[in-house]
């Protein structure tokens, strides 16, 4: 059962060197309040696991611009000059991961798998240093689970049992990241009574959710 906390309290749980799996894509579905609180708390040397590095002033890009991040596993940097600069200067260490592979590696950690075999990246730099395994005559790259200490996600609504639903393309990586944190913190727009969400429409069961932050109290 989750505990209701503020964004500042969420940030206070996070320590330098923690690994954060953060939901969202190009800042849609990003847990902006928690991100702002991390920036405000001045936490440094974090590792982030994200699809994209967003913009300098939106989404996880704010963590980069404020130098909270020392390393990242990410698939797309194109919208954020700052992360490219920090990468080129050596301030931030980047592992580029194909987007589908990133999702499977995060899901693997959340669901207790050690990794998956994927054809994505065969014959490219992505396969370098990795084990190639042949199954039924086809080669695959062994891609290992990506562990995270915290999953920070943005959902649309939670109920009082911590069940989450997402809105439109703000789903993106959030339901996957939500499974994957040793501690999962969900930022939501509102908390509704238990029973108000249709059991068939719940995307993330409350079992995955440890803390909830409401980002706008009406």
């Amino acid at each position: 059962m989750f505990k209701l906390i503020t964004a500042a309290e969420a940030a206070a749980l996070i320590k330098p060197n923690n690994r954060l799996a953060i939901g969202g894509f190009l800042a849609v579905g990003a847990p902006e309040s928690i991100i702002d609180a991390i920036v405000a708390a001045g936490i440094k040397d974090l590792h982030m696991i994200v699809i994209a590095s967003d913009w300098e002033d939106r989404g996880v890009g704010k963590l980069v611009a404020n130098r909270c991040i020392s390393s990242a596993q990410v698939s797309h940097l194109g919208t954020n000059k700052e992360i490219q600069n920090q990468m080129n200067s050596g301030e931030i260490k980047i592992e580029l991961v194909p987007q589908g592979t990133l999702m499977e590696r995060v899901r693997a950690f959340g669901t207790g798998l050690g990794g998956v075999l994927t054809p994505t990246g065969l014959g490219t730099v992505v396969e370098e240093g990795k084990q190639i395994i042949n199954v039924d005559g086809k080669d695959y790259i062994l891609e290992t689970a990506i562990p995270s200490d915290f999953a920070l996600v943005k959902a649309w609504k939670a109920d009082k049992d911590g069940n989450l639903v997402y809105r439109k393309t703000a789903h993106n990586s959030n339901p996957i990241m939500a499974m994957a944190g040793r501690i999962t913190i969900a930022e939501v727009d509102e908390i509704v009574e238990t029973g108000e969400l249709d059991p068939e429409e719940i995307v993330t069961p409350g079992v995955f959710v440890n803390y909830i932050v409401v980002n706008k109290e009406v």
Partner: protein, 215 residues
């Protein structure tokens, strides 16, 4: 098993379940625990076919044929319940998100090994979800009769039936006793009223660590 024995074991399992725990109860005896959760304690029950928030069995005539648990029994759901596919359900299990699972056993041994899915040449129900549950749950409790129908011990030095998982059991609850699997072996924690330590030792093949002062 007699109803009072079942109730007694069920009540003892229930004591292991804390407020807010997510719990998976195996078919049969373990489900008895659901009837003994104290008032004020909220435990959320999963069934591995794909539902969280299982409630009591429906009244006769109110069964929904698409509402069953992993044993095939009709269920109801409580407010806050959710339905999902079996991959997600086992993702919850294998990912370590279930606090406690309680299962029956054919055999369990002093190293925490469990055998509960096959008697070669005799019985092959298959492992179903048991291997994932025992591998993934944070705490694995075995609940069973202390001996088999012929009176032979089921708590052994070493299981000789095909294993369900290796070294994952942490607690054994029977009608006679409660035993904890420790790095040093099986610790006899409780003896049920009406039995003596000697009764338990006699009914158990495994060696037991018996703390001083245990009645």
């Amino acid at each position: 098993m007699a109803i009072d024995k079942r109730a007694q074991i069920g009540a003892r399992i229930a004591k292991e379940l804390k407020h807010g725990d997510y719990v998976n109860l195996g078919i049969g005896l373990p489900t008895e625990a659901a009837n003994h959760i104290p008032e004020g304690v909220r435990v959320i029950f999963q069934s591995e076919n794909g539902v969280m928030g299982v409630g009591p069995a429906p009244e006769e005539g109110a069964e929904d044929h698409e509402m069953i648990n992993a044993g095939g029994g009709f269920i109801t759901t409580l407010p806050g319940a959710s339905f999902f596919d079996s991959a997600t359900s086992f993702g919850i299990i294998r990912g370590g998100h279930i606090d406690v699972t309680v299962l029956g056993a054919l055999q369990v041994d002093q190293e925490g090994n469990l055998a509960n899915w096959m008697i070669p040449g005799k019985l092959t129900p298959g492992m179903g979800g048991a291997m994932d549950l025992v591998t993934g749950a944070k705490k694995v409790i075995v609940a069973m009769e202390h001996c088999d129908k012929r009176g032979n011990p089921k708590i052994l030095k070493q299981c000789n039936l095909p294993l369900t998982a290796k070294g994952k059991v942490s607690l054994i609850i029977t009608e006679m006793a409660v035993l904890e699997v420790t790095p040093n072996g099986l610790l006899l924690k409780e003896v049920t009223e009406g039995f003596t330590v000697e009764d338990v030792v006699k009914a158990t093949e495994a060696e037991l660590i018996i703390p001083e002062g245990l009645a």
